[in-house]
């Protein structure tokens, strides 16, 4: 599915609006006051050897005059434990639950930015306050259609803000399992890759369309081979194609069924401005709209967890 039903979008947007208006909700204070044992474990785990965090004498002589906690630990103090009771409700909960319900079950963190106002000292007990700052979408992303949800947590000691964190996630609808990507089954139409062709498939994995170039005479050649037929050089190099091309010929495959591909599908011979031709599928275009001379642009499609294939989409001329 590539769009959100208008009613669903309206409900989500209204809910987010109300939660933003709610402003900040205070959570429970840190379960334990800022303490040396937790600082020591964290610093060791992180490889942070700054004695200002763990050496009483050193700290006493330093600018703070006492031990302080590493600022990046701020989330640690108030993070709910795995076995603990229910965390305090925040304005984010309802919004994330509503997105789950609407099918946006995928989640990936996209941004996290922390700001520190001052160091925490031993014995202090920070209290988090959480507010929803925004929800944007629906957006089409590589992962699927989704909404970006952003919130801000401010940590207070008494009523003094000591640190802030902006956190953003993408909640997305995992793409429906198409025939080409069913449960990431291995794509059955694998090329045989050998010494003479590995450079091409390595390039594809890196998002490059590589054309073999003779290091001897500079001739470009596709499909590639081990020897330059022009100058007999076996020194093989490559250039990266611009990614532009033009449909030189094409077919629409209807029958028989081809494993790994849903019919009908389009295969084209694409003429590259670099002077060589290459075969590939034309995607994101109705088969009936494909025509000879149509400008296309290469993109790279993951066919399974390992195999990437260059495919061609319509481009502006």
């Amino acid at each position: 599915m590539t769009t959100v039903e208008p009613a669903v979008h309206r409900r989500l947007a209204e809910l987010a609006e109300r939660r933003i208006e709610l402003g900040e909700t205070r959570g429970l204070p840190a379960a334990d006051p800022v303490n040396l044992p937790m600082i020591r474990h964290w610093a060791e785990a992180m490889g942070d050897t700054n004695p200002a965090y763990t050496d009483e004498e050193f700290a006493a002589a330093g600018p703070h005059g006492e031990i302080v906690a590493p600022p990046a630990m701020i989330q640690v103090w108030t993070m709910p434990g795995r076995g603990g009771g229910r965390p305090a409700p925040t304005p984010i909960d309802d919004v994330l639950a509503a997105l789950d319900e609407a099918g946006f079950t995928g989640v990936v963190a996209t941004d996290c930015r922390q700001t520190y106002h001052r160091y925490l000292r031993l014995g202090e007990r920070p209290v988090p306050g959480t507010r929803l700052s925004g929800m944007t979408g629906p957006k089409t992303t590589a992962l699927g259609l989704g909404y970006f949800v952003t919130w801000v947590i401010t940590w207070y000691v008494a009523d003094e803000p000591v640190a802030e964190m902006m956190f953003r996630v993408l909640k997305f609808r995992p793409p429906e399992r198409g025939p080409a990507a069913a449960a990431r089954d291995p794509y059955p139409l694998r090329p045989a890759v050998g010494r003479d062709t590995a450079f091409f498939w390595e390039g594809v994995r890196q998002g490059e369309l590589r054309i073999q170039k003779c290091a001897g005479c500079g001739t470009l050649r596709h499909p590639p081979g081990p020897v330059c037929p022009s100058c007999r050089s076996t020194e093989r190099a490559h250039v990266v194609a611009s990614g532009r091309g033009e449909v030189f010929s094409y077919v629409v495959h209807h029958a028989p069924p081809v494993p790994g591909l849903a019919t009908p599908f389009v295969v084209a011979v694409v003429q590259l401005p670099e002077g060589v031709r290459i075969v590939g599928n034309v995607v994101e275009c109705e088969p009936a709209k494909v025509e000879i001379g149509m400008p296309v642009r290469v993109t790279f499609r993951e066919m399974d967890d390992e195999f990437v294939l260059p495919v061609w989409s319509p481009a502006e001329s």
């Binding site: 077919v251 495959h253 011979v269």
Partner: protein
């Protein structure tokens, strides 16, 4: 200069019935066809000392020799590249006979191509460190370009674009072949002609090809007996003299996927063959009374007419639309119905038809036949013959 032309002849032809399910092994089919050809020629198995087949054939020469009592062999050879091998088997046999490597050579092709392993099915199996063919296929298989129909369709589309040919132009070839098959009792489609409307209504296989642009799949076998022209004169039938026999591969040749060379509107390998054939035979297109053109897919019949010089580039559709390839046309093509109408035995049944046309015994006999042109599979390295009356 030494020439192969006129030194050898096809003295015997044999075939099994053409079916969709032969009900017997491919080796049995091969043996049946070899016996039929030897009996047709009036040659005993023990007189045969050479065998030639396709690299794609599943029946080893020694196995065929064992089953048929052929005994000792002094020459055995295979021709690669799928259906492009057909006339090449006769070239190999003729060279063996002309050089004395053998005296009597049988060419054969036997398969259960319909009930067994079907060529029309996607071929997707590729190895790790590839053979050169595997490497070639690897530029096409990952994109689902995996069937002969699709490979031909790619060239056909460009040809249509270049010359304004249409699906109906291809359809007229299918209609003519089925009309010829309708009056050939050996044809699978005997008594079953089609109309252009039926062609247009048939389902898409790979656009721009409809189902009725694609030849059938068949079970069956064909065998041919090649010997010296001199000896052939003493055998049972009028010899079909091998006036021209040529193989050819184009520059930048690939297997059905010649998408990287030239303007993609011709069949360069058939151009190579045409030059050699006219030179060796000393003939010109006008000297041929009927042509057996390899019709695995209709578009390539048009392209062959152009490569062989029967018309100019882009004008084959006019030749066909004007009835030129019909039985009463200027160049009757595939009077037996071709592979679209009679059977798909990888082009070998077409060579047998050419021999019948020379003998004057064909179901749809063309009058006044002196020279018959026969071609093999195109889009791949190919071959062709001119067979002539003595």
């Amino acid at each position: 200069m030494y020439s192969l032309s006129g030194r050898t002849a096809i003295a015997g032809i044999g075939a099994t019935e053409f079916s969709k399910d032969s009900g017997r092994s491919e080796l049995r089919l091969a043996a049946d066809a070899v016996f039929a050809a030897l009996d047709d020629a009036g040659v005993a198995p023990a007189e045969v000392d050479g065998l030639v087949t396709f690299t794609q054939d599943a029946n080893d020469e020694i196995a065929v020799a064992r089953e048929t009592g052929i005994g000792e062999l002094t020459f055995f050879s295979r021709v690669p590249y799928g259906g492009g091998a057909a006339c090449g088997t006769v070239l190999q046999a003729a060279m063996a006979v002309a050089t004395g490597a053998a005296s009597t050579v049988v060419c054969y092709r036997a398969f259960n191509e319909r009930s067994g392993s079907r060529f029309g099915r996607p071929s997707t199996g590729l190895g790790a460190e590839p053979s050169s063919l595997g490497a070639e296929m690897s530029w096409h298989v990952p994109h689902g370009l995996v069937t002969p129909a699709a490979w031909v369709a790619m060239v056909a589309r460009r040809y249509m674009h270049a010359y304004g040919a249409t699906s109906e132009d291809f359809g007229r070839v299918a209609v003519a072949m089925r009309r010829h098959a309708a009056t050939n009792p050996a044809a699978w489609f005997h008594g079953r002609p089609i109309t252009l409307e039926e062609h247009q209504r048939s389902r898409w296989i790979v656009e721009p090809l409809h189902l009725l642009d694609c030849c059938q799949e068949s079970d069956g076998a064909v065998a041919l007996v090649v010997t010296s022209a001199e000896r052939a004169r003493d055998l049972r039938h009028r010899p079909a003299v091998v006036t021209g026999a040529v193989q050819g591969s184009g520059a930048g040749q690939m297997m059905m996927t010649g998408f990287y060379r030239g303007d993609m509107t011709g069949l360069p390998e058939m151009g190579v063959v045409a030059r050699g054939l006219w030179e060796m035979s000393g003939l010109a297109p006008a000297d041929v009374q009927t042509a057996i053109l390899y019709d695995h897919f209709t578009p390539f019949v048009l392209l062959q007419l152009e490569e062989l010089g029967f018309c100019a580039r882009g004008e084959a559709r006019d030749l066909v639309a004007g009835g030129g390839i019909e039985l009463d046309g200027g160049l009757p093509v595939n009077p037996h119905g071709g592979q679209l109408g009679e059977a798909y035995i990888h082009g070998m049944n077409g060579i047998a038809e050419a021999v019948r046309q020379i003998r004057g015994t064909a179901a749809n006999q063309v009058t006044g036949v002196h020279n018959v042109l026969v071609t093999a599979g195109t889009g791949v390295p190919t071959s062709a013959l001119v067979l002539s009356t003595p």
